[in-house]
Amino acid sequence: MKLKESLEKKRFVVTSEVQAPLDESPDQLVKSLELIRGRMDGVTIPEIQIEGIVSDTIKVCELLNENRFDAIYQTTTRDKNRIQLQKDLLRAHNSGVENLLVFTEDYRITGDSLQEMMFFHVDAGKLQSVLQHMREGRTVDGHEIGKATDFVVGSGVESGWGKDVPDLELKEMEALAEIGVGYFLSTPVFDVDQFARFLKQVDTFGIPVIAEVMILRTAGMARFLNRHIKSGMVPEWLIKKLAEAPDKEKASIEIFADTVKGLKDLCQGVHIITIGGEEKLRYYLDAATLR
């Protein structure tokens, strides 16, 4: 089932992220996705990874669609100006990509070309300011492009707040709902109770919320997130569990399964970030009884 249909039918959506590989044949990627065929509603292919550049994302989207995996083109406005952005959106649309996931994207802290300028000419949620033109078959400058270019758009929301969600965040979600976002994607959820408090507090305006779940393999990885992404993002008890576990993989799978089980009654799906190791994803899905 395609992502759009799953969202409309209010199924518990499962999506995952894979990397457009620089150093291997994309066919290998398809082979590892075959291991989880039928268990995903969509697969996101980001344009940038923490290490730096990746291969041709749109081409990989095309390949996944050909192989009947509903591709979600994940783009950012950090590394391109509006000319390149429109060009990429058009190319993705022409290639048959139906889904888009957009982030403003973090300040670049790792990977290649740290000294390169960052654009942010359009911010992610309001990428709609570009899309609304393209949806009507025009560029932002009003030139006809011959056809309507539209996508199911997922947009990131900051869900790290417990119950004290600032008005500012609420306003942001309201604005995104008004401009027609297809679903909200949360920031990574490690503490289900905190996420529950966030959801209780916010009005999601009927827009489905998909929780991002990052597969933590080691305590070091968790500490990296806390140090570089956001302090306190991964709770200490979780880091301790991973650090002390004699079998790290087993602990990692358990943590994932517990998180997903907790989310099933809270929101409309999960977006799984594997950070490599796609071939092992099925064991995580099994443990969390995701189809």
Binding site: T104, S129, V157, L168, A175
Partner: protein
């Protein structure tokens, strides 16, 4: 008061820029760089020591009152013989000063500082960048706070996910511009202006280099 904010270049870079140049004349400035302690009299004296230790001959030095003033050339000509002896002028001012000197003197100029931004003094020794002179001012809609400058990402349509309890993801010492704007608009009972979807920004408000002549 606004000031040109500078930072001393690394010793390695200065060494590289002065490589093969044995005789140096030093120029500081009595205005911004004196205030920021990057090119006032004490820093010029320190630089003289640094260069002498490295075997350079400092032919002379001066701290100009205002290096970016058009009178700079006239002032410097008083040091004619000392400057004539020099292979290069090491200029410890902001880039405005360096370029003023470069335009008026025939000797090669070498900057000793990097110019970071035009800063608004917010307290003793504290400066904030509040305007980048983009030529398309939108602060009439953002409570008088510029998101183009104050938001690291220059976002004009509300905050990104990196806002963290009123601070910015890139530096906990820096305020989140959109939290400041939100609070200000709330105070003014003008939160509705945050709902207006700003079009993609005009990045060519004043194509570089800016140049104007008032009649």
């Amino acid at each position: 008061m606004i000031r040109s904010i500078t930072r001393k270049k690394s010793e390695e870079e200065i060494d590289r820029l002065l490589s093969g140049l044995g005789r140096i004349f030093l120029i500081g400035c009595g205005t911004c760089v004196t205030l920021t302690r990057t090119g006032g009299a004490p820093e010029v004296a320190q630089m003289k020591e640094q260069l002498t230790e490295k075997g350079k001959l400092v032919t002379g030095s001066t701290v100009l009152p205002v290096a970016c003033d058009n009178l700079t050339g006239e002032t410097l000509r008083e040091f004619g013989p000392q400057m004539d002896l020099a292979d290069a002028l090491l200029v410890m001012t902001c880039a405005f000063g360096v370029q003023t000197v470069a335009r008026q003197m025939k000797t090669m100029v070498v900057p000793a500082l990097d110019t970071l931004f035009i800063g608004k003094e917010t307290g003793p020794g504290r400066f904030d960048e509040v305007c980048t002179q983009c030529g398309t001012c939108i602060i009439g809609e953002t409570g008088g706070i510029c998101p183009v400058t104050t938001c690291h990402k220059g976002l004009v349509n509300g905050p990104c996910g990196g806002t963290d309890n009123g601070k910015c993801e890139i530096d906990p010492e820096k305020d989140c511009a959109w939290t400041l704007i939100y609070n200000r608009l709330k105070e003014l009972d003008r939160l509705d202006s945050m709902r207006v979807l700003q079009k993609p920004r005009n990045h060519q408000g004043e194509p570089r280099p800016g140049k104007i002549a008032f009649g």
